[in-house]
Subunit: 464 residues, 2 copies
């Protein structure tokens, strides 16, 4: 349920306006950017482009600046080249780079002829950084003044560039000669200060927190959150400012990152697109890859079972508990994995802490396994006692086997589940790729081996 007081404007427009692009453009121009975007998002790219053609140049740029507009590059591809180039020139540099990065090669090269050298230069400055890096999501527009400026000078500068610059609430103080970043002053501080004071006298005296352009967007998000910033400067090795990453980019980054993590946790590749919009076959591809990989690994369970076929034929009663025991290993592993994935993401745990985690998970696994083991033994005893099912003359030994195997398997699951994210991170992969299905598959084969080994110890001479 949408809880915004004014959240249903978009629905109302869609209900009451015909699909004529000219009329729609008129309605959209009168409502807030977010509502206009919600309406545009319901159209296909061709229809959205037709409506945008009827918007004023400024309104068009505003729509493309909104991060809520999905697939802006598809709309750009449908617009006349002059209009596309004008929109690209008008949007914020970070958004421009995001759109350009996703254009088809044909469209990008056609547009190149219509872009000014300044726009091209700003594009190149961002596009050279890898996706998901600070450099790739930064905007190259920001407010800066020399450290020699007064408060009044800085306010003048804000007034001068404030109409087009995305973020004016942090003003960056650069050394007049080298243009290195020295300090940061907030617009709030400027407003509260004496206009004649030197900007350096009101800024915090320490070197500002900044990130290199190759920093991961997740780290940037964490720093912005920890230091409570509205933007973080991106600087090169010589402390020259390349741009800033703003708090709204960071929220988008966190939301995307969460979606990717949850999808990976579910045991699949991240979709990149909303569930209802992605094509059927692309979705199958994203899901089939991991599903097949897990299936092929899980085939080892068939091999393990084949290995124990002799025991299985002698004691069919053992097969009854295989699903129960294996799923417990997988479940405990899945718990441990999800705990460690988040702890690593939030930097509560670092790579070097892996042994501390093992030292926690071994006793935790033993205790959890013992709890399940007791329940398992109770269940077998009760069923036997009340004649619900007959587990044979050696039912006590079968119950002991199930109980002991559960302790071992849950402990093993907890340790494997907690170590998998560490191993993936150490190898340079995303620890969030350690999904519940991945862990379950790792644990299943060993779980079978543990179960049959325990059975061999307890049941040798009787059933086996």
């Amino acid at each position: 349920m949408l809880k915004a007081i004014n959240g249903d404007v978009a629905q109302e427009i869609l209900r009451t306006t015909s699909s004529d692009p000219r009329l729609l453009a008129k309605r959209l121009a009168a409502c807030s950017a977010a509502d206009a975007i919600e309406v545009l998002n319901t159209f296909d790219a061709r229809h959205a482009a037709a409506v945008i053609e009827h918007l004023s140049p400024e309104a068009g740029v505003q729509a493309f600046n909104n991060p809520g507009l999905v697939w802006p590059w598809k709309i750009i591809e449908q617009l006349p080249h002059e209009r596309s180039a004008a929109i690209l020139a008008g949007v914020h540099p970070d958004r421009r780079a995001e759109i350009y990065r996703n254009l088809s090669d044909d469209c990008a090269s056609l547009l190149d002829d219509h872009l000014s050298p300044a726009v091209k230069a700003s594009l190149e400055q961002i596009l050279k950084y890898p996706r998901h890096s600070a450099g790739a999501i930064m905007t190259t527009d920001f407010v800066s003044v020399p450290t020699t400026a007064t408060v009044e000078d800085a306010l003048q500068q804000v007034r001068k560039v404030g109409g087009t610059t995305e973020q004016v609430y942090a003003i960056y103080l650069l050394a007049p000669d080298t243009r290195q970043l020295k300090q940061i002053v907030s617009l709030r501080q400027l407003i509260l200060a004496d206009p004649k004071a030197a900007v350096t006298s009101i800024a915090a005296p320490r070197t500002p927190v900044a990130v290199p352009p190759l920093a991961d967007r997740e780290d940037v998000a964490r720093l912005i959150s920890v230091y409570d910033l509205l933007a973080i400067p991106v600087i090169d090795d010589d402390h020259h400012m390349l741009g800033i990453v703003t708090v709204d980019d960071v929220i988008d980054a966190i939301v995307h990152e969460t979606t990717e993590d949850v999808q990976k946790l579910g045991g699949m590749e991240a979709l990149d697109q909303p569930y209802m919009r992605i094509g059927f076959l692309p979705m199958i591809r994203k899901r089939a890859g991991w599903l097949c990989a897990l299936f092929l690994s899980e085939m080892l369970t068939a091999s393990a079972m084949q290995h124990f076929q002799g025991e299985l034929e002698k004691a069919v009663v053992l097969t009854l508990f295989i699903p129960l025991i294996m799923s417990s290993g997988g479940n405990s592993g899945s718990q441990a994995t999800s705990l460690i994935i988040r702890a690593l993401a939030l930097r509560e745990v670092r790579l070097r802490d892996w042994f501390k985690v093992v030292a926690r998970e071994v006793p935790a696994g033993l205790l959890l396994g013992a709890i399940l083991g007791v329940i398992g033994i109770a269940r077998i005893s009760l069923w036997q006692h009340f004649h619900i099912f007959d587990y044979g003359p050696h039912w006590q030994l079968v119950a002991a086997t199930v109980g002991a195997a559960l302790v071992g398997i849950v402990m093993f699951g907890s340790v494997v589940g907690s170590m998998l994210p560490f191993i993936l991170k150490r190898l340079g992969f995303d620890p969030a790729s350690a999904s519940a299905p991945f862990v379950a598959t790792l644990v299943d084969v060993t779980g079978l081996v543990i179960y049959f080994s325990v059975a061999f110890v307890f049941l040798r001479g009787t059933l086996l």
Copy 2:
């Protein structure tokens, strides 16, 4: 790896300063708030309180205002009451409420005597709202001017309250008589405008986006992100402003929400505390609950197996594929669940779309099942052909059973996995409680029934 340019100040302080609270307080006063917090977080509550006692009153308040300080309430409990009351009076209202909410009852009632009526009133205004609601995370401090004010009046008001108010970049315009919220103007707009202009002439003419105090923090986060705001007003039914939720609270809310969701997806209760800090037994409690519930449900697999014991004894070869087939159902279900959980969270899919999702998941499940089925049949045929294992004289029928069962089980898993979040949401639970282990457990019993039913069709008269 921390990528901040100045990220290791805290480590350096810890390495070079003795644990004398007076010396530590001196070092902390000289570094940034975030670094000071990182140092304080490494101490237990008693030691942190001792250090804070030696900080200036302002620096103490600043430390408690920082959302990075974990367990501020535990530190408050260790400080002298006068100091605690002064800090509570000094911090932002939202932080004050968060701390007060977590104090022990004894400490809270002792502190009550030291708090001014104004502070108590602001506390009550926030504490009456449930956790995770907009009302509970809002701050009651904000900048407002009557709609009759000029730009210069508004700037004066910012200068007047800007020293203590958390967020001054949005200024709220209230009707002079009713004090209802009418419009919002940004500090940027004020700076760029003619000082003599009326504030209403530069503010956007439409009614601002706002939320009621009972809105869920997740919805608030989504609105702030969609509308690209630095703060969102919280208003009552009569459009009177109760407070604002700021973007930094929202980032914290998103990060917490993500951690909870990932932990629930792993099949456990959310921990509420960092993995390395939560006590061993509280952690076991959070994990054992779901683990036992899943174990008890999974016992149905043992019952199902018992039901098919006759078939199992006749055809032990069928048992070899039980783990493989059951895990495939669980894995496909886990994929579908994680897709739908995120799609619901991002409002890409709504409750009423459940049938559209079924209509996508049935063909997706059939296709994915067919892919796995072909791999399964190929595996059995190859092993048989190259004499790696002998599946008996009816191996073709066994292979057909495995292949057909996979199609049915993967399809069933995909549908159950995608519907579980809808059902939970419809019943008023968090859809993210639909974990991979939960889905696997649901699918396992039915998976066994499907497998043995298919086997009965294919193998009747031969093996069964």
